[in-house]
Assembly symmetry: C2
Homo-oligomer: 151 residues x 2
């Protein structure tokens, strides 16, 4: 699997909808209608996205949300990090000292590299990219891993 949570998936959909009206402010109800995601869920997502600084909010009548930055400058990795924390395939790749086997585990260093590579790849796809109708993808090779010692 290696699956994103459903919330994150929906979060991307909401972000994409928000990208459609970059300047307009849209409220949670509108976004729910536009995306087909249940309203309370949309609310929850927007709150988290706001706290993480990915969207700006305006309270009160005629309030709503809009992207904090141009869609080109918001990556999938940003959205994932906002909704489910930073990418880390294994426990040990994220935090130190939780495993007990760390000192003798040969795998750990490798996981970190792989981890960074995937995060890098995800960081190279923007919300704007995801919003394009077609399937052309301007994405980078996963900088961390690929390149030999030289890098």
């Amino acid at each position: 699997m290696l699956r994103l949570s459903k919330l994150t998936d929906y979060g991307m959909v909401v972000m994409a909808a928000l990208a459609d009206a970059e300047d307009d402010t849209r409220n949670a109800a509108d976004l729910a209608t536009a995306t087909g995601v249940a309203l309370p869920t949309v609310r929850k997502l927007l709150k988290r996205l706001n706290r993480s600084g990915l969207v700006n909010s305006a309270r009160g009548a005629r309030g709503g949300y809009r992207l904090a930055r141009p869609a080109e400058d918001i990556s999938i990795a940003d959205v994932i990090a906002a909704l489910e924390g930073p990418v880390s395939l294994t426990e040990c790749a994220a935090h130190d000292g939780l495993c007990g086997m760390e000192s003798v585990c040969r795998l750990r260093g490798h996981w970190r590299v792989i981890n960074d590579a995937i995060r890098g790849a995800l960081a190279d796809v923007s919300v704007a990219d995801m919003n394009r109708p077609a399937l052309s993808m301007p994405l980078q090779p996963a900088p961390g891993i690929a390149s030999s010692p030289g890098s």
Copy 2:
């Protein structure tokens, strides 16, 4: 997050331990001792790995397990697929017709591409690679995504 399950994590450790003795057959108890993973868990892992054809098993006295192929020919993606199913970041990347929004969702095609890229990256790291002490990684650029004209 985007985290592997703990079982998969342990599974990699077991595979690495198995790679240490490519020709010797090792039983579940030995592997539990060598890896520090609880015996019942090791058993469970080995059963699954066996069913997926990643290891071969021998029953009876002096039985045990060994890698079905050279460690160089078993990728991380193989192990992940064996233990938690094929890599698929989103529901829609794996199965058709479960979402209801599929026909109108612009994101779907993009997710598939990203998905393939990550799977590709994971497929380029072997158990043998993971077993090396150092941190040099012979990994490929994530063939699916990158490729664009420039790169």
